[in-house]
Structures are given as structure tokens and as C-alpha cells.
């Protein structure tokens, strides 16, 4: 369905989750919604509910406590879904790398589609990242393969993009 695929790119509803971030990136995510950047002109709406969301914006290095919450949230988002790691911490752990309680990056827990580095990531970079994620949605960079063991469809991210 071309129409649905086109609509998908025009109406990404995001959900923002803070994984023990320092709040620097969270402020920048919220800055995207202000009149200066106004992401709603691209149809981007900040949802509070994973069941309504298409794109997960994750900030912060994942620690042991938040990892299961993150996994739970990811499972509650209906397919097709995208995950964007916002900020250096979310991409690799950043300055918290190798801390005893930090897993070091969102991709240790769930598959990530787009990494947005920066401390903190700038709003322009976040908008660029969402647009890049949407391109991958419309061009079907995501692969859907049927698992030979359990006979259910699994999502395979074959390409990890970096800005």
C-alpha cells in the first residue's frame, strides 16, 4: 500500500524515554516541540503512550534498572517501529562508559535504527535523525524475516546508520 507507506513518513508519533540521562538531551528533545523548531509541521507529535507511538526517542546510557523498563516499552510499541538513540550516552555510554551500573548504549538492550551523537544532541540533529529513520521506513531498510524455529516474523535491522 503506497498510501499507507507515504502516510507513515508524514505522521511519525514519537515517544521520548529517559534512561538515566543527565537531562541535557531531554531538554533538546523538548526544544524540538517549541515554536522555534516546531516539529509538528512534519506531523511529529510527542506521545506519552508507547501503544500510540511509532518512533522511540531514547536518551541516556542504559543502566541495570532502566534496561527492563526500556525493553518493556519497546515491546509495547506496535509494529512497524523505529528506535533512535539520542546523544552520545545513548549511542555508546558516553562519559558513563564502563561505570559499574551502566550497560553503555541503547543497542545493548534493543535494536537501534539511528544514532544521533552529541553532548547534548542539537535539536537540528534530532530532527535530521527522525527524518533519516523515516527514510528507512519508506525505503524498507528494515527486513522482516520469518524465523525457521518459531514461525513468527522478526525484525532485522540490516543497516545501522550514523549521522
Amino acid at each position: 500500500m503506497g498510501l499507507i507507506k507515504k502516510s507513515r513518513a508524514k505522521s511519525p508519533w514519537i515517544m521520548h524515554f529517559d534512561n538515566s540521562s543527565c537531562n541535557g538531551c531531554d531538554i533538546e528533545v523538548l526544544a524540538c516541540l517549541t515554536p522555534l523548531y516546531d516539529v509538528e509541521r512534519f506531523g511529529i507529535v510527542n506521545m506519552g503512550n508507547p501503544k500510540h507511538a511509532d518512533v522511540l526517542l531514547i536518551t541516556g546510557p542504559v543502566n541495570m534498572r532502566t534496561a527492563r523498563v526500556l525493553k518493556n516499552l519497546y515491546e509495547q510499541v506496535a509494529n512497524p517501529k523505529m528506535v533512535i538513540a539520542v546523544g552520545t550516552c545513548a549511542s555508546s555510554g558516553g562519559v558513563f562508559h564502563n561505570c559499574y551500573n551502566v550497560l553503555g548504549g541503547v543497542d545493548k538492550v534493543i535494536p537501534v535504527d539511528v544514532y544521533i551523537p552529541g553532548c547534548a544532541a542539537r535539536p537540528e540533529a534530532i530532527i535530521d535523525g527522525v527524518v533519516m529513520a523515516l527514510q528507512s521506513l519508506t525505503e524498507q531498510r528494515h527486513l522482516w524475516v520469518t524465523c525457521p524455529h518459531c514461525q513468527t516474523e522478526h525484525e532485522v535491522t540490516d543497516q545501522r546508520w550514523r549521522i
Partner: protein, 292 residues
């Protein structure tokens, strides 16, 4: 409904079912654009609600309870039935009851899951029904007092518009319009802005195509409530349509200048102002006509 469904009525039914969501979606698109401009933003394209609903239709749905799917279908079907009552110029009382039952279907959909947010939303929706339903019933009684019948066809046929003898009820219906459109200060059960807050409760457990059904029912609903406003000046029709569009724009302005109030305040205001205006209006009509 009167008599058999004739051919032109059938065409009217199909045209309503097809065109009402298009009109409703465009109204919501205009709403989002104007709201954005009032907030100093550029705003999404006018067709944004259509993109949203098409995207939702293409998503997977996550089932929490199968009953909520039954109720969301009931909400949509009853809302369409209520709108058809208006378009086929049938009984106004039936329209009010169908609209009430549609609201109850949404509430039962909220209660059929275990999520506390969903239950909160359902309770708030019940309070909204409590606030607007008596006003609509009083409107039905006033229409009966004025025309001697509940039939909408009689309202349309009358030369004298309803707005002149029923102006206090028109103000009360504007309250109902705000409550039904879920606009501030009455966006108690769900809101178009506060996506992270508890007011989004009733839609918590809906995802994908079923959330799309909810939005579709909302589009029929806005056409229906604006259609009730049109009834106040149904002859000639274009004046009624202008009044309805002006009322819609007024709601957008009120939405942006008002803060959300509590549910209790909504019921108190709707009952004190809305019911007082309605009862005085009905009493005046009966005294004038000398029925007592």
C-alpha cells in the same frame, strides 16, 4: 424513521457515510493549523489527520481485551446511526439517545481493560455525558414545545428559525459543543494536546487500527454536533452552516485562551448555567403557548 427507505434517501445515507469523515478530518486539520498559528507555530498540513489515520490503519494492533474492540466498533456504528438520524431528518429524541449510547459504548470500552489510566478516562467520559446529556434532552423538549413534534423534518420545514425563540438553549448547546469536541476548558476525558497527561486515559489501551477507528468516530461526532448547531437556523440552510462554522472557530479560540478545569467544575457549570437556561427556555415556551 418514516416509511420505507427511498432511493434518494439511500444515496443520502451513502453520501453521509463517505463525506462526513472527509469533512470531519478537514475540520480537525483546520483546527490543528489554527491552534498552531495561535501558539506562534507554523503547524502541520491541513491533511495531517488523514495521514495520521492512514498510518494507524497500517500498524499492528495489540490486543489487551477483545471486548474493547467490540465497544469501539459500537461507538463508531452508533455515532454513524446518530448522524444518519440527523441527515434523514428523523426523530431528534432518537438522535439524542443514540448519541448517549455511543458515549456509553466508549465508556464501556474504557472499562473493559485493566489499565487504571483507561478506567480514569472512562470515569471522566461518564462525567462528560452527565454534563451534556440533560442539556440535549432539554433541547429536544424545547423543540417539541415549539413545533409540537420531535421530527427534524418539521424543524427544517419551518420558516421561522429555532434560534430566535431558543436562544438561551443555543448558548447551552455551545457549552455542549465544547464538551463534545473535547476542547479546553472541558477537555476532561481526552484532549487533542496533552498527550502525556492522564486526560488521554480513555485511549490508552487502543493501538493501531483501533485507535484509527476511535479517531474516525470522533470525526463523525464533530460533524454531528455541528449539525445540531445547524438545526438552529435550518431554513435557509446556508445561514445554519455559517453559524456552525462560526461556532467551530469560536471553540478554537476558547480552546486556546482557556486552561483545563476540573471535571467537577465542568458538571457544576454545565448544570447550573446550561440547565437553568434550558429550563427557563422550556418554561417560557410552554407559558407562551399556554399548554399549562
Amino acid at each position: 424513521m418514516r416509511g420505507d427507505l427511498e432511493m434518494n434517501q439511500l444515496i443520502l445515507v451513502i453520501a453521509t457515510i463517505v463525506l462526513a469523515p472527509i469533512v470531519g478530518g478537514l475540520l480537525f486539520g483546520i483546527d490543528r493549523r489554527i491552534t498552531a498559528r495561535l501558539q506562534g507555530r507554523f503547524g502541520p498540513p491541513i491533511l495531517q489527520p488523514f495521514y495520521d489515520i492512514l498510518k494507524l490503519l497500517g500498524k499492528d494492533s495489540i490486543a489487551v481485551s477483545k471486548m474493547q474492540f467490540v465497544w469501539i466498533y459500537a461507538y463508531l456504528v452508533l455515532m454513524i446511526a446518530s448522524l444518519l438520524c440527523l441527515v434523514l431528518q428523523s426523530d431528534f429524541l432518537v438522535l439524542v439517545f443514540l448519541l448517549g449510547f455511543a458515549g456509553v459504548a466508549l465508556v464501556l470500552g474504557g472499562f473493559s481493560t485493566k489499565s487504571p489510566y483507561s478506567h480514569f478516562g472512562a470515569n471522566r467520559e461518564l462525567l462528560q455525558i452527565l454534563a451534556y446529556e440533560p442539556v440535549l434532552l432539554l433541547l429536544a423538549i424545547a423543540i417539541y414545545a415549539q413545533n409540537g413534534t420531535f421530527l427534524i423534518s418539521e424543524i427544517v420545514a419551518h420558516e421561522q428559525p429555532l434560534l430566535l425563540p431558543l436562544w438561551p438553549l443555543f448558548i447551552a448547546v455551545l457549552y455542549v459543543l465544547t464538551i463534545k469536541m473535547r476542547k479546553s476548558p472541558f477537555d476532561i476525558s481526552t484532549s487533542h494536546h496533552a498527550h502525556q497527561e492522564i486526560v488521554k486515559g480513555i485511549t490508552t489501551e487502543y493501538s493501531g487500527p483501533f485507535l484509527a477507528l476511535y479517531h474516525l468516530a470522533e470525526w463523525y461526532e464533530i460533524v454531528l454536533v455541528l449539525g445540531v448547531v445547524v438545526l438552529f437556523w435550518a431554513n435557509p440552510l446556508w445561514i445554519g452552516l455559517l453559524i456552525a462554522f462560526a461556532a467551530f472557530l469560536l471553540e478554537l479560540v476558547v480552546d486556546n485562551i482557556a486552561a483545563r478545569m476540573t471535571a467537577r467544575w465542568m458538571v457544576r457549570l454545565s448544570w447550573s448555567v446550561g440547565l437553568t437556561l434550558g429550563i427557563l427556555n422550556v418554561a417560557y415556551l410552554y407559558i407562551i403557548k399556554g399548554v399549562f
